[in-house]
């Protein structure tokens, strides 16, 4: 199996205080700790488990700064074979479609059976990159995958759906799977393994190196414009609407109209 696994270096905002920069459209990340995106960590583990079972090669692809090399080396310490880190300021990386285009540009033209991504990113939570990547690569995809079975020329993917439903689909390879957390138990990357992984190939490329037209992945091509970021104000009032369903609906509609919400 030849697998690509796409990973993202994200801030841990679970406990940290989030502050919007004076520009109003970016977040002050100076006090955050950064690590591999949680779901991507499971994607790495799944790719390594498949390699250990079926043989083959796993390539890490990531768009990010030099500081993210430690995350990439950790993935290689766990068993990934080589890596490509794309770094280019011209990428409109707030837009999952632009990110997917860059990832597709990095992967396209190479032979592969599977591409893994995490099912969502902890920072922007779009849940779109993996699916868009499949479209740009022109291959099948399954999202929110909680179990993977490799068949002859196919992959059986167990998808976790709403309400606890599990959907099982078979896809012709090559395919993109977006991996849901909990599919496995990601292993630890011991420091000795990380040191040994220094010998593995980690290429750094810009858009020009990959033959990607900056105009197609930059802010001009993006249809997403971040206009304003703000911390939602904590509201202290809540109103419980009493009555029969019809009364409740009427009262609710009245509140919405008065509030200018409809």
């Amino acid at each position: 199996m030849k697998t690509f696994v796409c990973i993202k270096y994200v801030p841990d905002t679970s406990e940290a205080e989030v502050k919007v920069n004076p520009d109003g459209v970016t977040v002050d990340s100076s006090r955050f700790s950064f690590d591999i995106n949680d779901a991507d960590n499971y994607a790495v583990e799944e790719s390594v488990l498949i390699k250990e079972d079926k043989g083959g090669e796993v390539t890490v692809v990531s768009i990010g700064p030099k500081q993210s090399d430690v995350m990439i080396r950790m993935a290689m310490a766990k068993g990934c074979d080589k890596a490509l880190r794309v770094e280019d300021e011209r990428i409109a990386d707030h837009d999952p479609l632009m990110v997917a285009r860059v990832l597709a540009g990095a992967i396209k033209g190479q032979e592969f059976d599977l591409v893994f991504t995490g099912c969502w990113a902890d920072d922007d939570g779009h849940m779109s990159t993996g699916v868009a990547l499949a479209e740009y690569l022109g291959v099948n995809h399954a999202s929110m995958v909680k179990k993977v079975e490799i068949l002859d020329g196919k992959v059986k993917a167990h998808r976790e759906l709403e309400g606890g439903l599990m959907e099982v689909v078979e896809l012709e390879l090559p395919a993109v799977l977006t991996i849901q957390t909990g599919i496995n138990e990601p292993r630890y990357a011991p420091i000795r393994g990380i040191r040994q992984a220094q010998k593995k190939e980690l290429n750094v490329a810009g858009l020009d190196d990959l033959g990607i037209d900056p105009a197609e992945v930059g802010s001009d091509a993006s249809q997403v414009i971040v206009e304003n970021l703000y911390i939602p104000e904590v509201e202290s009032t809540a109103e419980f609407i009493e009555g029969e369903p019809e009364e409740k609906a009427e009262k609710l509609a009245s509140i919405l109209v008065k509030g200018g919400l409809v």
Binding site: S33, Y188, R192
Partner: protein, 378 residues
């Protein structure tokens, strides 16, 4: 530090063991887990058996309290055989997620608590803390410890310490927030490579600062620096030694009485590993009104709270009574109103036990600095 070419038998001097049983005879964990360290020392001699031994769950029951090492007539450290077996699992990467996350956090953020490095000094907010500068000599140079820095429950220890230091006017400074974990728990969890890296990097960092002595606040940092950092240029002491000196010099002014019955719990890393038994007791006895009582199991025989040996991140499979519960029951039987300790891990484990047993109304667990903060004029 061993070299890769050493065999397991050579590294842990297994042939030095005479199978006398002093280790197992003192191991506090045996009452609640199947751990038999003597058997591990015996069986690990067979190199072909190592993988099988490393997969046994009980290797993670050891709290690294060092009772076995203290009692060993041959000067061996049986617990380190268990740490060696843990290393094999760590190298395979297949450790508990909690262990994985703690170790990774030490590598990426310099602390095992998955907290951002940039927030390490947030505890200082609102306090006038003197910060050390490389090359500027200071008498007492303080190393805060990851747990004291980040855990709100034990931050009181360092906050009170700063107020007390400012009040006495002694020459002191704390390391800036680029200090990293001492690696105590990294060592006992068996991440040899990461521990070697920490020793190397921390030695270089800590030696940039000049002090008459480096004062540690957690016994885990205290013992780790003294035992595993051979090239530190500044001598290492525990803060209770400093406070003991200050009291002897009459530098603390009491603002009232603490009329309580207090029992002191010897932390393993301070007592049986660091040889500090008397200073904490002298501090407590000097507090006006305090009646100090003693556990039957005290000093070198002190019962471990199970907070060391990486156990903050590994849950034992045993469902039998936790040693911390036993300790708190013993304290209650003595009629103690306060269980005083001088270790952040002991505070956390013993307080959990106290709450678990429902003794909150009649008893409290307190770090010595917490008590001083209440009774010293700051």
């Amino acid at each position: 530090m061993s070299t890769e070419s050493q065999t397991f038998t050579e590294k842990y001097d297994l042939l030095g063991c005479i199978q006398c049983g002093r280790c197992t005879g003192g191991c506090p964990v045996t009452v609640r887990a199947d751990l038999n360290v003597r058997q591990f020392v015996n069986d690990a001699y067979d190199e072909e058996k190592l993988d099988e031994l490393a997969r046994l769950a009980e290797i993670w029951d050891c709290t690294a309290c060092h009772t076995c090492a203290v009692r060993c007539p041959k000067g061996l450290k049986p617990l380190e055989v268990l740490i060696g077996l843990r290393s094999m699992i760590v190298e395979s990467g297949k450790v508990e997620p909690t262990v994985r996350d703690a170790l990774q956090s030490v590598l990426l953020e310099g602390n095992p608590w998955e907290k951002a490095r940039a927030t390490r000094s947030d505890w200082m907010e609102g306090l006038d803390v003197k910060i050390a500068e490389p090359g500027v000599a200071v008498e007492n140079l303080f190393f805060v410890c990851c747990t004291n820095a980040y855990d709100p429950r034990v931050q009181t220890t360092v906050k009170n310490l700063v107020k007390l230091l400012n009040k006495t006017g002694i020459d002191y400074a704390f390391f800036p927030d680029d200090e990293s974990c001492c690696g105590s728990e990294v060592f006992t969890l068996g991440e040899e490579g990461l521990f070697e890296m920490l020793v190397e990097d921390n030695t270089e960092y800590l030696n940039e600062f000049t002090a008459e002595r480096m004062v540690t606040i957690s016994p885990h940092c205290f013992t780790t620096y003294r035992t595993h950092y051979p090239d530190l240029k500044n001598p290492v002491i525990h803060y209770t030694q400093l406070i003991d000196e200050l009291i002897a010099e009459g530098k603390l002014a009491w603002k009232g009485e603490l009329s309580k019955k207090i029992v002191y719990h010897d932390p393993c890393y301070l007592g049986k590993q660091g040889g500090i038994f008397d200073e904490p007791r002298r501090i407590l006895k000097s507090i006006p009104g305090v009646e100090l009582v003693e556990f039957e199991r005290r000093r070198e025989r002190s019962l471990c709270c199970e907070g060391g040996g990486g156990k903050m991140w590994v849950e034992s499979e045993s469902k039998k009574e936790r040693l911390a519960d036993t300790r708190i029951k013993d304290a209650k039987a003595l009629g103690a109103e306060i269980v005083a300790v001088a270790c952040p891990f002991c505070v956390l484990t013993l307080e959990d036990a106290m709450k678990n047993l429902g003794y909150e109304e009649e008893m409290r667990v307190a770090e010595i600095m917490e008590l001083l903060g209440e009774i010293v004029d700051l």
